[in-house]
């Protein structure tokens, strides 16, 4: 059948029929399967999951495999769209892509797009979560996630930070860094200053809209995307740098996706501060000088890692007469080329730091709990994920977790207040630890 790779649920009938339940959406890449936990010295099943929703819920409807059966049942009328548990199963999904990447290790199914399309389909049928609707309305009205005054959005800019009126590099700050975690914005800005990279800010930066996308509000997201895209293009920026994983993913991947273009057609490059800073480090423009004697671990936020490969639109047929081949062949986004090494390079370059890997890292990373609108609608599930990620870091004796995403930072800091740890005492954004030591 002919179709586009988009967010129309009908295009994922094939996925809903071709999952055979291998559990890589549950446990990820088997090559990285965890064994004995180093501190506890025993097998701890809790560290094996890559799907936090499924880990929380335990029954199979909470995971991608169950979701394929669920979607199939909706297609054939075995289940009604009205069933509240249909909605709950869909909206408790973090859209972290662990299932997608796990599945694509060995197969070619578009599980994340299928999941996401389910959310879109539910919203279109009037089954959006009220929590999401409320926040989206707030974003539309105020221009930011928190419903705060846009006028104070740039208050994070302190006197020591130099911002240009016009530059090739645009720093897209994002709502969370602007309002809740200004230290991240400041650290990012200082990195650019220290490296001698002039940068500008958007005149009126509004929310990138990622929550709209994550929660299936496609119509609203397209409006936000078009508007922000236009502003960025008008600014003349050649490179957009961001420290927020969700802004990064939204600009680089979701905007082109919903606007039917390729990432390469944006007209500018979107980079994460970790990528940018590592390049500066390699060019000798940034060098860590301060020693930091600490054992740290790096949390691969999905938005910066496995989900950040450029978007490539596709349209064609699945030729049922020819073994279901896609024609033309599609380039699959499997999470291979996520931003994994640059943050690690930055960390390893800091004198005195010891980097340890957790069980679940790179494409196989466990989610930290903010994504898919889950925190907003089902905070207990979001906290559950964050708590387990923190426990994992503690199992490896890390004293700090470093993350590239402000949302992860928020979740892990919250977990630190709930969970008793032996070693973990701090959560850094990658920009903070780089700024602190350079």
């Amino acid at each position: 059948m002919s179709f586009k790779l988009d967010l129309n649920i009908e295009n994922y009938f094939w996925e809903s029929r071709c999952c055979m339940g291998c559990a890589m959406c549950k446990y990820g890449d088997w090559i990285y399967a965890p064994g004995i936990a180093p501190k506890s010295k025993k097998f701890i099943h809790d560290f094996t999951w890559v799907c936090p929703e499924w880990q929380w819920g335990k029954f199979d409807n909470w995971g991608a495999t169950g979701r394929t059966r669920l979607i199939n049942a909706l297609f054939v009328g075995d289940l009604p769209w009205e069933d509240p548990l249909v909605q709950e199963a869909a909206f408790r999904c973090f859209s972290c892509g662990a299932c997608d990447v796990g599945c694509k290790r060995n197969l070619d199914l578009e599980i994340l797009l299928m999941n996401q399309s389910l959310k879109v389909a539910l919203v279109e049928r009037g089954f959006a979560r009220p929590e999401h609707k409320g926040i989206i309305a707030r974003i539309e009205k105020s221009g930011n996630y928190y419903g705060m005054d846009q006028k104070i959005r740039k208050d994070w800019v302190t006197d020591d930070i130099k911002v240009e009126d016009k530059a090739d590099v645009l720093f897209f700050v994002g709502c969370w860094a602007s309002y809740k975690y200004p230290e991240v914005a400041q650290a990012t800005a200082r990195i650019l200053n220290k490296a001698g990279v002039p940068f500008m800010l958007l005149d009126e930066e509004r929310c990138c809209g990622s929550l709209m996308y994550e929660t299936g509000h496609l119509k609203e997201f397209r409006i936000a995307a078009r508007a922000t895209l236009e502003k960025i293009r008008q600014s003349g920026a050649k490179t957009v740098v961001t420290a927020c994983g969700y802004c990064y993913k939204a600009l680089k991947v979701e905007y082109p996706k919903v606007l039917d273009m390729a990432t390469s057609d944006l007209g500018f490059e979107v980079v994460h501060i970790a990528e940018f800073a590592d390049k500066l480090r390699q060019e000798g423009k940034l060098s860590p000088k301060e020693e930091l004697k600490m054992k740290v671990t790096y949390h691969d936020a999905c938005s910066v890692g496995r989900l950040s490969e450029p978007w490539i639109p596709w349209e064609g047929i699945r030729d049922a007469e020819d073994w279901g081949k896609l024609k033309p062949a599609r380039q699959f986004r499997r999470g291979t080329n996520g931003c994994y090494e640059p943050p690690r390079n930055l960390i390893k370059a800091i004198p005195g730091v010891e980097l340890v890997e957790m069980f679940r890292h790179h494409h196989n990373a466990y989610h930290s709990g903010e994504g898919g609108g889950v925190l907003e609608a089902y905070p207990e599930t979001a906290h559950f994920a964050a708590d387990w990620r923190l426990r994992e870091a503690d199992e490896f004796g890390a004293e700090a977790i470093v993350t590239p995403d402000v949302h992860s930072l928020h979740m892990l800091k919250g977990a630190l207040e709930r969970v008793e740890t032996d070693t973990v005492g701090k959560v850094y954004h990658i920009a903070e630890i780089v700024d602190e030591t350079c």
């Binding site: 335990k58 009328g77 049922a320």
Partner: protein, 584 residues
Amino acid sequence: MAYKEKPMLSTEEMKEKLRQLRAQPYWWDMPEEAYRELEAVVGPDKISREKVVRQAYVGRGYARELIWFSGQAYPPCCVIQPETTEEVAEIVRICNKYHLPFNPCSSQWAYNANPRFRPDQVQIDLQRMQDVVIDKKNLYARVEAGVRYGHFCQACFDNDCYFINTGGGSASCIIANHTVWGCSPFNYRMGNPERRVMAVTWISPEGDIVRTGSWAGRETTAEDGFWGDGLGPNLNGIWRGHIGWFGAMGIVTEMTVKIFPFIENAKEAMVPEGVTPDSHTAFKTNRVQWQNIKLPSRKALEDFMYAFSHCQIGAAITKVPVFWRVIAKAKDKEDFWERWSGVTKDDIENFHMARVLLIGFTNEKQMEYERAVLDELRQEFGGEFTRTKPSDESWFKNADTSGMWMMTNGYSSCEAGQECLRCTYETGKKLGKLLWEKYTPPFMAEYGDPGWFQSNDFGHSSYLEFLVYMNVDKCDPLSPYYDPGYVQGMIGWYFEETPTIDAETGFLDFFPASCHGIMFQGPYFSDYQVWVDRFKEEFDPRTVSNPPAPYDPEWITEMLPPFMLNKSRRFLRTIKRGKSMLLQ
């Protein structure tokens, strides 16, 4: 056939199709009293009769193309997730009390793990049972029902041991797999699956807790599970033979399994590396190596496999189907087909490659010795070493799993079993020939490839598995490209011709015992169905343990839709269930 655009079926059209296929109403509500009793066992959080939850357990795993698509798959009436053996036993007793069929599952990788033909099964989902305790010194481990190979294999490395990772694969649960299957090239040194099983806690179909092996008569299973023989006869023989009952003979909740000495500091020698889809386990190649050897002829390959095995070197020797090698190189389905379309029958007929695993268990010098012997063998048989990656993407941790479906999204193994190498050679050849000459199409062209086979027990026996690939759209009544004639074209292969080859060559195939061929195989392999019936009647008198597994031909002929079994339905009715050879 040229592509023709056809629109997706509407919901109404799909509903109508399913109405015709399904013999029963899809949803069934269980008695309230029974639900409450089950809920009291595990608590309200570990049981659900919500339709969304139940739907997740439909038609999973292997052979979904034939089972789920044909309307055989139904949701359970509830899903329950016990955490202890005592809970499982109580659940089974309640099911007996209410004559509710139950279906135990863990990985749900096997086709019988979810309800077939009936919507009234209680799905006992054992995935919360995740305990693993390893006794490195005494080379065994205690595992619970939910533990999967991938995790357990790493836990073994962490203890300088290793374990099998069954073909197709890491997702399987160790207990489930050892109750029904359990083969891997590592059987070469590790032996038959049933001998890897030691002490077991078995919940009989009536809900009795029976402990076997060195757990028999003991107060606790916390220790003492070091040995697997019986107190006299070994009762493990009830619930698993050449193949298992697929949940039709009670439930095993925990077992001790043998683990095998590997190399010292195995964790550092077996390092996961790389990013998907190229992640792999990198070896310290002075102690662990795969090596591919190309042989000049089929005979040379066959003789080489025997000779290698008799030298008692290596940790595995296997010959894989050529298309697996192409899958391993292909980046996606389309890439596979681009490579595969260039293959000819001559290529397959002239391609004879063995893959061996060498492990310097004792020391590096052992590796040197084994390589020297391997090289001597290579020269003797005119072979040639070919480039081999110093890493593993399959047998140690990943084991293919869903990758086997990459080519067409529709696959099944139609033949799997153990006999001597000669028997597997000859049987594989016949199957390859039959597939190519008569059943291509409907199946994917394999150009006469004789299947996957390997040596077991240092050449004393071997394993053969034969895989076929089908067009998923043509099998799927819900696809606009569905073709009932296509499915009919496969029936003869599964139900008549491959079992006949087994009867001729004497190859003891798993499948006749579990599903399609049993009614045909009986007269050819003693009269074991008589015993299957007797055991089933004795130990599951109410027939509540996953009916109709392992088989029930009368039920199957009634339940399967007409298009599925028109021809074989007649054949089924003419075949007598096996009678005792003496009492006929």
